[in-house]
Amino acid sequence: MSTQSDNQPVPAENRASGWVIFVFFLIGLIASLISGWIAFPNLLYSTQQQPIDFNHKAHVAQMDCSSCHFFRDDGSFAGSPTLDECKSCHMYPMSNDPDEQKFIEEYVKKDKEVPWLIYAEQPPCVFFSHAAHVKGADMECRTCHGDIGQSTSLREYQENRLTGYSRDIWGYSMLRLGEAKHGGRHKMNDCAECHLKETGSKGDCFQCHK
């Protein structure tokens, strides 16, 4: 039940003035902008280090990319090398590098696969063929993966806490603007953009979502 006093207008002297209201608006606006642009990305992504700090440059100096990242006989792409493949050279230490020591102690001796964190891992609903791109379209690894072959250290891996996928899929820029750092940015629109440019078509759904 309403009382009479409820319907009476609040006297003007008891009301907040226009600029006070505007200040509150600004506080809300700025606080949300700060939390949205700075706090949110830090909350959304967790940061992890790779189990072994791998030096690509040192390896590339002695062998090709395809020595470790090769195509299998059936045309499928092997991705990161398995322990057996690493062991073919690193059964015993080849240098004094502490990471190599760690690799041999913790993985080779224990016969345990290295749980590499894959920067460009796509969800299982995506079919991607390396053969079609590298062999068919003659593309270089760096076009999508950046100049990782020249790196001496593995960068940190950021994982989306909600989806469980790498930050490289969305890209480091929250607005997905500018050139992708590290060659990262592997969302569907990124595929489509390149396909449109190179082939004249964004492609059909079933090409990637079987």
């Binding site: 907040a16 509150f24 606006l29 902008l33």
Partner: protein, 757 residues
């Protein structure tokens, strides 16, 4: 400075405006979409190098060679094995989607015993030790009561080591009741025995045949070995060598160079009409008929009685009369007969639909007579008897077992009435339901097949099963029959087990394929061979002695020692010595010749006409006044009509005018539809003497007026929620129509009414 409610609202509005200017809503929307499409608890296939493993599919009796792509021990894809002598690389959709059955929820995951009513679906998990002791105790109890012959075993095949072990077990135990599930090959194998004197698998050399006359065989829809027919289909089409006799424009008829729409059930009359023209015009192979055949001309027996031969009998089937019976134009019959007789290497084949639709013995004998007339027995492109495996070890049995084995079979097979019929599962329900006192089957072992789905008139079969006090199922899946059992002893999935697959019906070479484990067993299941060895061990005595092997694998390797190298390396073994025997040595009949007059065939009335192939109109059950239409099942390569149901992948390939929103469509001719006031898409009730089903109407000009065609293989009620409840089971609407000469089910259809719902 006053702060009031409006300040708070302003703060919220500022926050909302600010938030829309940040990535938060857009990024979170995207992430939620990805998160919901990739639930962490949904298993996804392993990644890694592919390893191909050869095996043989046993989902039906076709036995196609497969090559399974596995990654880290998971089966990912099934392909046809390119060099396998049966299917040569082709594979049906069922075989391709078998991984869904391997990983799907239809599997029985451990031994279980029933806790609720039969069929209620209440189970309690038990140990293997308890499961084996429960079965052995029941069997031991029946044996101690001198009733071993009241145990029956149903299997889908009677060839190969697993069916052999089942038969060996029953023999050692003392029961003659090993029963193979029915198919159209029952009639063909019996016809083979009656005409050639050989027990074996029938082989049709369709690859080398120059002209194929198919009496309703759904070559494109899983007849024989589906993969084999798919491989051959291009050849059929290119060489215009297939003629299809069928009342429905099936996929096979569509592929044929000529479609002959004979009235259903009159195939035998047509075959005899064609034979009439071939004999009348002297187009038959005289070398074969004169020298290697018996009973073509009239003949005199040792008592001086003159018997009618095939030639005299054929006089009763002049084209004009046959035209009246079959509805096919007289000229077409004449020209078809001449085409058949003059073609190079012609062959006539029979077995309606995929082979699941039954047929009487006369039909098979009539079609065989056509083949014999053109002399294509044991010739390239002809018909051959593939001998049954004969590599079994000896055994001894005790007196109880011997006495039990001398009891008559429950199904009436091999009795005085049906002496040449080996199995009659279709007669089992009647034998149980009409028995006075206790059921003649006290314990039933279901070691293959899914009788409560595949048998005609499933309700009556269920009533019979109700009277069997003890039912054990060895099924891999929770199928309709397993659901009705008392105890479950699940076999491994075929991708998890060893098994040999001897020559499938229809294949013209002698071959053994090896089914072998492609993945580790996923559940607490056990190979049926091992389970049998365990049960035999627990029964003890002679039965245990008959099973001296450590396990099934040891038995398999010992049995197939000679073939093992080839089996292991290639996945199959082809008998290098097998050649269809020459005519002078081919026939083991009493006359030593091919018998146009099958002297071994039982003659109920003592008349020659009973022995000779003839056309006897099958009286379909039902009152033609009340049920003016005729229902017939049809086969589809995209719907598995056998024991194992369609996996969901396969059902997705079925058109929306076959099944939609859980309702099955029946086909009728537009003329029939008009007469009955039905139109496309209408919901209707289909009624037969066996039962009724809710269906929808699909008008199809390719079906003869007066018929209702319904796909076989839908309407499962078991397996899983993803499989059950789609359409209706046509078998539940059919009934058994006993073929007087053989006891086989000759009921290819049934009378029906269709009323708009």
């Amino acid at each position: 400075m006053k702060i009031d409610r409006r300040c708070f609202l302003s703060l919220v509005i500022g926050g909302a405006v600010g938030t829309t200017l940040t990535p938060v809503p857009w990024k979170l929307t995207d992430d939620i979409a990805i998160w919901t499409q990739n639930w962490p608890w949904t298993p996804s296939p392993e990644k890694g190098p592919s390893v191909y493993k050869k095996s043989v599919c046993t989902l039906c009796n076709g036995g196609c060679g497969i090559n399974v792509r596995t990654v880290k021990g998971q089966a990912k894809k099934i392909e046809g094995q390119a060099d396998y002598p049966v299917n040569r690389g082709s594979l049906c959709p069922m075989g391709i989607s078998a991984t869904q059955h391997l990983y799907g929820p239809s599997r029985i995951q451990s031994p279980m015993k029933r806790t609720g009513e039969r069929g209620q679906g209440k189970w309690e998990k038990i140990s293997w030790a308890e499961a084996i002791s429960t079965v052995s105790e029941k069997l031991a109890e029946l044996r101690s009561r001198k009733k071993p012959h009241t145990v029956a075993c149903i299997a889908e095949s009677d060839r190969g080591t697993v069916p052999y072990l089942l038969q060996r077990f029953l023999t050692a135990y003392g029961s003659p009741n090993f029963i193979r599930t029915p198919s159209s090959f029952d009639a063909q194998e019996q016809a083979l025995y009656l005409t050639q004197g050989r027990h074996g698998t029938i082989g049709y050399d369709l690859e080398n045949a120059g002209f194929i006359l198919s009496f309703g065989s759904a070559l494109m829809d899983a007849w024989g070995t589906a993969g084999q027919m798919l491989s051959a289909s291009a050849d059929f089409k290119q060489k215009n060598k297939l003629i299809q006799v069928e009342p429905r424009l099936s996929d096979t008829a569509a592929l044929a160079s000529q479609w002959v729409a004979a009235k259903p059930g009159t195939e035998a009359a047509l075959a005899l009409g064609l034979a009439h023209v071939i004999v009348r015009d002297n187009l038959y192979n005289k070398e074969f008929v004169d020298n290697y055949a018996f009973g073509f001309e009239d003949w005199e027996d040792e008592n001086g009685t003159v018997h009618q031969g095939c030639k005299s009998l054929l006089k009763q089937y002049p084209p004009k009369k046959v035209a009246g019976i079959t509805g096919i134009d007289k000229g077409t019959i004449e020209s078809l007969a001449r085409k058949f007789a003059r073609a190079k290497r012609p062959v006539a084949i029979c077995g309606r639909g995929s082979g699941m639709v039954p047929g009487g013995l006369d039909e098979a004998l009539a079609v065989f007579a056509l083949n014999a007339l053109v002399g294509n027995i044991n010739q390239p492109g002809g018909v051959t008897a593939i001998p049954e495996p004969d590599y079994w070890p000896e055994m001894q049995r005790d007196k109880t077992a011997s006495n039990g084995m001398q009891q008559p079979r429950v199904d009436g097979a091999e009795s005085d009435r049906f002496p040449n019929t080996r199995y009659l599962l279709n007669r089992v329900p009647e034998a149980i339901n009409s028995a006075k006192g206790e059921s003649p089957i006290q314990a039933l072992l279901v070691a293959g097949g899914n009788p409560l789905y595949t048998m005609a008139d499933t309700e009556t079969a269920k009533k019979a099963f109700d009277k069997i006090p003890f039912i054990a199922s060895f099924s891999t899946y929770m199928d309709e029959t397993a659901q009705y059992a008392d105890i479950l002893l699940p076999n491994h999935h075929f991708l998890e087990r060893f098994e040999d697959v001897p020559t499938p019906a229809g294949t013209p070479t002698r071959v053994i394929g090896l089914t072998r484990p492609v993945v580790e067993p996923r559940h607490d299941t056990r190979h049926i061979g091992d389970t049998l060895i365990n049960i035999a061990g627990s029964l003890g005595g002679f039965i245990e002695n008959a099973f001296p092997w450590e396990n099934y694998e040891a038995f398999l390797k010992q049995t197939l020692t000679k073939q093992w190298d080839s089996l292991e390396k290639q996945g199959y073994w082809v008998d290098p010595e097998f050649m269809p025997p020459a005519w002078e040595k081919a026939f083991q009949t009493p006359s030593g010749k091919y018998e146009f007059y099958p002297s071994q065939r039982s003659k109920a009335s003592g008349k020659d006409a009973d022995a000779l192939p003839g056309f006897r109109q099958v009286e379909l059950p039902g009152d033609p006044e009340k049920m003016p239409l005729t229902l017939m099942p049809y086969a589809s390569a995209r719907i598995a009509g056998g024991a194992v149901a369609n996996p969901p992948f396969m059902t997705k390939t079925v058109d929306t005018d076959v099944i939609k929103d859980g309702a099955v469509f029946v086909e009728i001719n537009p003329q029939t539809a008009k007469k009955h006031g039905l139109s496309e898409g209408d919901a209707a009730v289909l009624k037969t003497p066996a039962g009724k089903a809710r269906v929808r109407i699909h008008l199809f000009e390719g079906l003869m007026p007066g018929l209702v065609a319904m796909p076989a293989g839908l309407g499962h009620t078991a397996f899983s929620d993803y499989i059950a409840g789609k359409g209706a089971n046509v078998n539940a609407l059919l009934t058994d129509v006993t073929d007087p000469g053989s006891g086989l089910n000759a009921g290819w259809g049934i009378r029906a009414s269709l009323v708009k719902a």
